[in-house]
Amino acid sequence: MHRQRRHVLAIAALVAATTALTACSSSSSDSSTSGADGDQNVVFAMTSRGVSDLDPLSDTLVTNNAYTLDKIMEPLVELQEDGTIGPLLAESWEVSDDGLTWTFHLQDDVTFSDGSTFDSADVLYSFQRHQEVGGSLPISAPVDSFEAPDASTFVVNLTSPYAALLADFATFAYVIVPEDLNGLDADEFFEDPVGTGPFTVGEWDVVSGEITLDANKDYWQGAPSVDSVEFVVVDDSNQLVQQLLSGEVDLADNVPASALSEIEDSGSASVVQTPSWLEYILAFNTVDGVFADSTVRRAVAQAIDRTALTEATTNGTGTPATSFLPASILYSDQDIDIAGYDVDAAQADLDSTSQAGGFATSLIVESGDATLAAQATAIQGYLAEIGIEVSIESLDSTAFWNRFGARDYDLAVVISTSDTGDPSNLAGWQLDPDLIDSYHTGFDNAEVQSLMDQGLATSDDTQRAEIYSQLQQLVADELPSVPLTYKSSLIGVRDGIDGLVVLPNGTTRLAGLTVSE
């Protein structure tokens, strides 16, 4: 009996020791949301993949990478809340009459976070590196040369006019890094990048993608009022909402539309809704199969009640889509006459094709987004009305992009986005077969291509508006995809947090955040 007791004691001791050990290893990061005395730390929950790379020219385009590095490094010009482009590291600029020479006058009192001075040599280096490396958002302007005639001037010489230059220059890929990356190689430098922005890298776990940004106390536009922002990854949408409501996180990106009323009614948090450049679309495989016939595509478009669909699947946070260009994009023409909801016309159109009487097809959709799933189901219902029997294939992210990217599908419900507020960018992704196969629809139309080229070659506002209006009408007739819903970006904000700025591309400005209890 005594020996047995000793063994039991030994096991108990072992268990206790293990518990103590693991406790030590896991309790290292106990940060409070906002210290009453001392440091003010804001916790910002992101969904999906965390921050894996801070190099603006990385090959992989991950939203959370782009929207974290833009708080550390800054471009010459910046996208503003109203969608227009304003000055940032360049205080002013002018363009020559022939549209071929852009001259940027740089701010002269800017320092990098390591204390070194920012000047045109840094700008020149950053643009040359961009030209050399390319990355996920390579320079698309027809550049002849870059010049830095003096310390506060930067000149871009083009071979032909390019209207989207400012919009391009405001994106994350065009941020300015110190000349020669301070002598480091890119991998080393971007572990803790030096920039002119309001924040610097604190702690960063590359595998979980969680990162803490510390305030740059010497930020040239004035230090941020919070001391740090901690980005955490919360994959589960239920966790996201509950952590926001319990105050464990202060800001929650991408809250589900279905949780809107729960958050608003809680009395402890609210949701900031901002029109975005994101839109839900129904994409067709326009090359293989029945949807190669644009009349069949038009029948599908007319069979779908986009107003009811949007209301039902976004809890009223979305807007029914008309043009493929969301209203927040420049020259979006919301009066475009896209085939509206009309079941009889849809049936008549379908019956005029070789598919009269209906057919069976399949629709792929990425799992994990409740709105996407609901839209797929709604479309299945609408198309059944005109005799099209849709089977839904819900795929995880990797499988979806594998199928969609290889155009191995008939119908797909997917979210499309733009990098800039200029229509040329979204038009390029969605309609240019040479970029990504016209957003994997295979759509190829010579008239569309010619209008897109014209849209970039002229800088006259009225002319551009006219060109893009024609383009939108043409696309509404040809329908490589049906625009379903313009998505609002939904960010949950705990009460007591103020000063959040949300931009149309979905990124945020955090330098003005304040915390009060």
């Binding site: 693991t22 406790a23 896991s26 385009l61 590359v206 509950q242 952590q243 992210s397 979806f400 199928r403």
Partner: protein
């Protein structure tokens, strides 16, 4: 569980030449299990549509860039050749190699996460014991009365309720409503962030433990020596704690050991529900990213852990049981 206790004991009684097979057999068994894990997980992942090239390049990649990366990573090679490469890495480095997504050795990623998973696991074992022992004693000592029925209903219900559902209920009740614990994440540190996950995970095995311990106690209660003790006017409580419980605990330890594998599976799901960055979420992300070395690595190390625990359990049982020692 009788075979677990009797086979080694029986072997021990035999002549010394049979000693080596007895040591080698479990090792060989373990190696075979590992090999099975490697091959099975490799085949399963290759059956799942999509591969890591899509993950790495994102949504804007053209078909050509994806094909080029696939070739660079060797993903276009035959299945057997890819498996060969992996086994080669495993044998030469003792690890699963580097994660394709993060470029970091899988071993290092696991080392960074294992603390969280172990904490949940150990807490779950503690909770499982704290829940099942009192419930079993209560139930057995009140056989066929109200308390017994109540415990049996409780175990049936919790057996059928999936752990993630229990987790959500606990979150809504204890975190959201009462605010006693954080909703998720490990930012509140130990123990606050780990109590609910540990409790939830423990409920994946506590019902079985309670039921089997109850049966065990009932069996011992019916034996002659208990009647003798009762006859000499030892108090009911004293007999229960000093004699009945002690005699029933051994099979309980064996059962606990064999259930650790099951518990580990539960822990991995629980991590997801409570937004904890442990081995489970590492594995989940690796699968959705099709990050083959990481999937292989996590599965392999988990399998090793399970095999080690199971082996240790049978060793422990041998040590603890005086009847086996006496031979």
């Amino acid at each position: 569980m009788s075979s677990a206790t009797e086979t080694p004991a029986g072997a021990r009684a035999d002549a010394p030449p049979r000693r080596w097979p007895r040591v080698l057999a479990p090792v060989l068994h373990a190696v075979l299990v590992m090999a099975g894990v490697v091959v099975a997980s490799f085949s399963l992942v290759s059956l799942v549509p999509g591969d890591v090239a899509t993950t790495l390049l994102g949504e804007r990649a053209s078909a050509e860039t994806i094909a080029a990366l696939r070739a660079e990573l060797g993903l276009d090679r035959p299945w057997l050749s890819q498996l060969g490469t992996f086994v080669h890495t495993l044998v030469t480095t003792g690890g699963a190699g580097d994660s394709v997504v993060y470029g970091i050795p899988v071993k290092d990623m696991i080392a960074g996460r294992v603390g969280v998973t172990l904490t949940v696991l150990v807490l779950a074992i503690v909770f499982a014991v704290l829940i099942s022992v009192p419930l079993a004693v209560l139930s057995a000592s009140h056989r066929d009365r109200l308390a017994d029925h109540a415990v049996r209903v409780f175990t049936t219900v919790s057996l059928t309720a999936p752990p993630f559902w229990i987790g959500l209920i606990l979150i809504l009740l204890l975190s959201v409503r009462l605010g006693w614990f954080p909703v998720g994440g490990d930012r509140a540190g130990f123990p606050l962030s780990f109590v609910l996950p540990g409790l939830t995970a423990s409920l994946t095995i506590a019902p079985q433990l309670t039921r089997s311990l109850r049966l065990q106690i009932l069996e011992v209660l019916d034996s002659d020596f208990v009647l003798t003790y009762r006859a000499v006017h030892y108090s009911r409580a004293r007999v229960m704690v000093r004699h009945v419980l002690r005699n029933s605990l051994l099979p309980f330890v064996t059962l606990l050991g064999t259930n650790v594998a099951y518990l580990l599976g539960g822990t991995l799901i629980v991590e997801r529900v409570f937004d904890l960055d442990g081995i489970g979420s590492l594995m989940f992300d690796a699968i959705s990213n099709r990050d083959l070395p990481t999937i292989q690595g996590t599965l392999l190390y988990t399998a090793v852990a399970v095999v080690v625990v199971t082996t240790l359990t049978s060793v422990l049982t041998n040590l603890l049981d005086p009847r086996l020692r006496a031979r």
